[in-house]
Symmetry: C2
Subunit: 389 residues, 2 copies
DNA sequence: GGGGATTCGTCCGTCAACCGAACTAAATGG
DNA sequence: CCATTTAGTTCGGTTGACGGACGAATCCCC
């Protein structure tokens, strides 16, 4: 076997193009693949033949429809084969962990959410995560050797170089490299860790409310406030991987001291616990985030006011960012992202504080994946990193 | 790397790789090109042969040094040929225009700066620009048919879709598509227009103070305040092309009304005319930007205070942006970018208001191209758009 | 029911692009 | 003066993609 560098690379590039097109568009015929990639039908046929032989692609038994309802021989559809085995996605919040197990076509097989005091002790949280993964594997009937990759997010910036949580944000995780810790506990080769808002952005961008939109800002409003920024269709992580710290924009010079050390950070005003605390005295029942969302939908004046204020504060910070980035869409995620009043507040501030042209080019929409955006992003990341092509 | 497609496309991709390597590294031998691209010496030889035949590359007469001072046949160096003809770069400011003529290897042949009240009447300014270009062509001995492309920047956001200046920013340019207007006046096919800060960023990134740095923010502080944002090595223009409006971040809720319609924009505090106005009463001599920079270098207390305040205001706005983008370097440009006090002010605010990790990963440096950054970026853009490969 | 028309997938011959080996060219050094 | 080293070229061979031709499978229309 002679290594013919460039030609061989060309062939693998073409193979990759086919796989990525199949991934984006779903099952399709060889002729459609040829049209989609610009390759000839001949070439597509031989490449698909190789991909079938290597197990990356399967020829489906169902025949497709003839071309555009007209006549002609119906095509044989080919589809990406789901590789054997499973991956795990883990969403670590401040007060919960959510673990999902999926096959390698992103179909979720099992999922579990649990309240855990993550902030206090990172090691203990990771212990619990490892237990849940093990349980889910067992109840789904998979052996540990069938777990190919793990994607995880943590609610804190992650320094790319040290693979650690940034200073000050999550004290219980100091000097705890999450990927390595999890790899040690579960003996899985591929463990990828990223920031929660980043993975939420990835999920909403690839299959949620911002599908096909090149420049988006995903804002996660939950226990904290964070942003995942997709520019030119690619997640922007920054020089050291800690981009997206929208929650620590200063909005009040004399405001509360934030866990990051500054004063009056956006996060001190609009984080979910803070809002509940603010509302609770006026209500007889114990308030939860779900209950607040329900009251908001019912039109409760107090809730609307508080969530509207929060939205306006977020929108104020977003306006500055949008002036600089001119994104096409803002996706509001996190437990409070679907609140109508909050969304209205964001829109109000953007209209008021952003440049008119910038605001006009901008859509503000709630996320479509809800609480599960982060874990779905983690699964997607795990699958992409476990790909063998 | 290798784009999918036919064999022919593979060849052109390889040709492009050779040209881009030659562009980046300067003259080199075929053997070095083979090592640099991973192609075989055979392939490089034939490709270079084609490029020589087509006039894109020349074989220099000087022989290179034998490899690493050792023995061996000395290589024949090949270099990018400078295509015939010239290009023009035009920097349109609020109160001046700067026009440069260069050959197509970016060597400036002639340059002229002139005070023009650009804001008042866009058409008149473009008339004058066309005159200057014509004059420079004549005095340099080139005919108009030898002018291959024009790059121009204007001090306002440019909507990509309408190719017009954004609403409100530059009233005298409303409904005046700059590229088309200039094309009409000078009968040049290739006319590219972009925002001033964008082209400054391009220049400082490709050949100035941020060479080789992937994520930078170029801040231009002159008659206005604007930013050019390079992320992942590529200029970010945003969904409609109007990214970078850092000057219209609101820094004072009750501040002066800005030309953009909002109140208390950064630009109302730190634009150069505003600072001169602020300083003038305390000085007997008439102040210019150059004089203020000189006073700053001499340690004049008043100037240092005012420029320091301006820098802190800019840094305050940059801190929020850096929290979200985590860039590696900030380049301060524009007429006041080289001021030491201003730079110190920016650093002070960044340290205070940005996340500690973000600030630690960040360098703040003055631009290396000074007033000429924009026009050099315009030339570079014109050259790249006039390339025939 | 049968004969185009149309589209799909494959086979085959051809051409394009790259590579390795061998060869010549031009220097250095003992 | 000859061995050594590196550069560039020539030549034969392999790989990859393509276009045209062909059978297959369906629809449409008579």
């Amino acid at each position: 076997m002679v290594s013919h560098g460039s030609l061989e690379r060309l062939r693998t590039a073409n193979r990759r193009a086919l796989v990525s097109l199949l991934g984006a568009e779903g099952p399709m015929s060889r002729a459609d693949l040829a049209r989609g990639t610009g390759l000839s039908r001949t070439t597509v046929s031989t490449l698909i033949g190789e991909l079938i032989a290597s197990g990356h692609v399967t020829e489906t038994t169902v025949r497709g429809r003839p071309h555009k309802g007209g006549s002609g021989r119906p095509p044989l559809l080919v589809a990406l084969a789901t590789p054997p085995g499973v991956v795990a996605g883990i969403d670590v919040g401040h007060r919960h962990v959510r673990v999902a197990l999926s096959d390698r076509s992103a179909a979720v097989l099992a999922e579990q959410v649990e309240s855990v005091d993550v902030d206090a002790d990172g090691g203990a949280a990771l212990d619990r995560v490892a237990e849940i993964v093990t349980t889910l594997l067992a109840t789904s009937g998979f052996g540990r050797e069938e777990l190919h990759a793990i994607g995880m997010c943590v609610p804190a910036p992650l320094d790319r170089r040290s693979a650690r949580v940034g200073t000050g944000i999550l004290p219980g995780w100091r000097d705890l490299p999450p990927a390595e810790e999890l790899r040690r506990r579960l003996d899985v080769r591929v463990v990828v860790v990223d920031n929660d808002a980043n993975l939420g952005a990835l999920a909403e961008h690839s299959r949620g409310a911002a599908k096909g939109v090149a420049d988006i800002i995903y804002v996660k409003i939950a226990s904290g406030v964070g942003a995942g920024i997709v520019l030119g269709g690619r997640l922007h992580r920054g020089a050291t991987g800690i981009a997206g710290e929208l929650g620590h924009v200063q909005v009040d010079e004399d405001g509360q001291v934030c866990r990051c050390g500054n004063r009056g950070c956006l996060e001190t005003l609009v984080a979910a616990p803070r809002l509940l605390e603010l509302l609770q005295p006026a209500y007889d029942e114990p308030l939860t985030e779900e209950r607040v969302l329900a009251l908001d939908a019912e039109g409760d004046a107090g809730v609307r006011r508080v969530l509207g204020d929060a939205g306006r504060a977020v929108g104020r910070a977003l306006a500055d960012l949008c002036n600089s980035l001119n994104p096409e869409r803002i996706v509001l995620g996190g437990s409070l992202g679907t609140s109508g009043s909050l969304g209205e507040g964001v829109r109000t501030s953007l209209t008021r504080f952003a440049q008119p042209d910038t605001a006009a080019a901008l859509q503000v929409v709630p996320g479509r994946l809800g609480d599960r955006a982060e874990v779905l992003g983690a699964l997607a990341l795990a699958i992409s990193r476990s790909a063998t092509l």
